[in-house]
Subunit: 406 residues, 2 copies
């Protein structure tokens, strides 16, 4: 039997199910796979022998279409960081046991940096043990921080949500003529790509954010207060975009002024509100009306305003990952290479996961303006193609149609 299993991992996005749909389309049209499974909750589904048969959904064209536009990970997700097989071989053995039980020839893992680390370790382990399951990665992350791919699936949709929301908030804020500052906090601990997307709100001539502070740039609290104070003299309503992960000179998160020091499973610091910290700061220092807004989970879940470019590319990346697997590639990730910005042209490639795993592609400092509080035209030109187009999402009873796989 030539069976295939697919799994999804890490933070959900509006496009990760499009990649799943692309893989299922590949399976369906290739005729080279006998059975197709989904592992529930990422790699945990393989470890715990928790597989879902995806044959029915694969053969139903309309369901595949609904899946394409359904946000979040339809197979469930996990935050499981695989240890090395020297320290935790039992986990590897259980995964191989699941592969053998279901006669899995191909495993495609859709995820970000940590998932590509799993793809790398697992493919190396299989080689070591002469086990012939092929392990391919398909990229996914709203953070856009994956190396060796021009951009990451999910980023374009999140960027479109952010740009649209910033443009709408700008309309709201500019309706008042009293001095007020609105601080919008955008996801990104170490990579500020999503925060930079706030600048796209200017594409149709709007002013966009007054200031944009990315987490790549050292955040100077005094200069920030000075920036705001100076701008308020000429403009009543200010709009400011900040990365959740902005840090001060000593490397401490701005949000640490109020956070509790908790850490997640990966040892990442728990971050409790850069915007809220700055809100309190401005209220104390300047005394004006201040509001903070967190775009929170909406920025990764808002499939209703997904980018058609992103959804289509995510689907094609799923197909590409499948094709690579069929060609016998293992330990690699499907990726995007950009040929040109305008006209926007890309090609699909594959890259070795060893060079993707555990790297973070942050925003190069030359994309930040010299004053430190905005992004350059070059960065806007890079992002602009990624938010183009509106999806063909269907509505029922006034709400976007969604599908649930379990």
């Amino acid at each position: 039997m030539n069976n295939l299993v697919v799994a999804q991992s890490g933070g959900p996005t509006a496009a990760i199910n499009a990649t799943l749909a692309g893989i299922l389309q590949g399976v369906r049209t290739s005729g080279r796979v006998d059975k197709v499974y989904g592992a529930k909750n990422g790699i945990d589904g393989l470890i715990k022998d928790n597989l879902i048969d995806l044959t029915d959904i694969m053969q139903d064209t309309l369901s595949l279409d609904t899946l394409t536009y359904t946000p979040s990970s339809a197979l469930g997700t996990c935050r499981h960081k695989m240890k090395d097989w020297n320290t935790e071989e039992e986990t590897y053995k259980r995964i191989i046991a699941t592969f053998l039980k279901y006669e899995i020839k191909y495993f495609i893992y859709i995820g970000g940096n940590d998932s590509m680390d799993t793809v790398y370790k697992l493919s190396e382990y299989c080689k070591l043990k002469n086990h012939d399951t092929i392990i391919m990665g398909a990229p996914k992350t709203i953070d856009n921080d994956l190396a060796l791919t021009d951009h990451s699936p999910g980023f374009g949709s999140a960027a479109k949500y952010i740009a649209t929301t910033i443009a709408e908030l700008e309309r709201d804020i500019s309706a008042y003529d009293v001095p007020a500052v609105t601080i919008v906090e955008i996801m990104g601990r170490n990579a500020g790509w999503l925060t930079a997307a706030a600048a796209l709100a200017r594409l149709n001539g709007g002013a966009g954010p007054d200031f944009i502070y990315l987490c790549e740039m050292e955040f100077d609290v005094d200069r920030f207060i000075g920036d705001v104070r100076e701008r308020l003299v000429t403009k009543p309503g200010l709009l400011i975009a900040v990365s959740e992960g902005i840090k001060e000179k000593d490397g401490a998160y701005v949000s640490d002024r109020v956070s509790n020091g908790a850490v997640d499973n990966f040892g990442h610091k728990y971050i409790a509100g850069a915007a809220r910290t700055l809100e309190q700061l401005l209220r104390t220092e300047i005394g004006c009306k201040v509001r903070s807004i967190e775009l929170n989970l909406m920025q990764r879940a808002a499939a209703h305003i997904a980018s058609e470019t992103d959804i289509t590319e995510s689907l094609l990346l799923g197909q590409r990952a499948f094709t690579c697997a069929m060609n016998g590639e293992t330990g690699r990730m499907a990726a995007i290479r950009r040929i040109s910005d305008a006209p926007y042209r890309i090609e699909f490639i594959s890259v070795p996961v060893s060079e993707v795993a555990n790297h973070e592609k942050t925003v190069p400092l030359e994309y930040i303006t010299p004053d430190g509080h905005d992004v350059t035209e070059e960065l806007i030109a890079y992002m602009k193609p990624l938010i183009q187009g509106e999806t063909n999402i269907k509505f029922e009873n006034g709400l976007p149609k969604q599908i649930s796989l379990y």
Copy 2:
């Protein structure tokens, strides 16, 4: 000269410019008005002689269409509570002076409770002084708390945003298999209509929120903790919707446990986060992972997911207000009377502002389930028609097209 001035007041919505567009359509097709002006920042524009000529936009069909789908108050807004003329007649005199200067025969004020209070006072003052300017109100508020109208323009679009977002968040939350609670805070100090709209996420078969707490119902902290603790036994990821204005038995806002006691221009209490207060509470009491989300300004500004029913009705209410003014009605508000839920049928009427001003239509307690943490099917049937249909909003460069009038 038969000139008309229009103004917008209170919190912006995704539909208030549709009402403005409806008025301009009325002016354009009636041939009974010589010049049309917009007062900038609500009644303040009349007091300060700050008027914008709207002739050009009125005559440009495509601009009127863009205006219809642009969120927030295109003429600017204010939070000006008019005092009685016995204590502050100077303000009234200045408004009348503006009316005389621009030969204003008709004034239409689009707004909520406080704006209808202005319409009432001003129309009474004009009668008293034998000044013949006609003063009409057009309703607007996402809160849906206006008396004498079946529902308020702006509510349907906010409700559609909320239902869509809750459905998307549900997908996101259900992807994880670890116990976690997500608390979503929705606007509404005294009226819980918008919070109730979270239940509409169930229309396509989804589970929707596990619990919905409206501000009309006394909030019992101990019972809340008990509800959550019990449900977590059978379900890992809980989704809870709460009104920003939930209050404890003694009438104190739940958010008062952390707020600072500041008040706004109207003497309304400043509210700093019911959801965040409950987040902290659950973390301490239950110890599970908790996240709070505020839908913040997005729920009133998200024109990209506006309800076509709401936008069309808002436009027609503007036309109706104009027609009433032409018919010599003064001190009245255009309103909606519902004929039936299914099929959904309404008619446009006008009502005396004296009975609208300073009233708040809250959610009747019989619309809340006996357990106090959900809403009834009857309430869902009332709200369902209001979120139907997607608008014909145009996109440019991947973003919704908007118009700016100043």
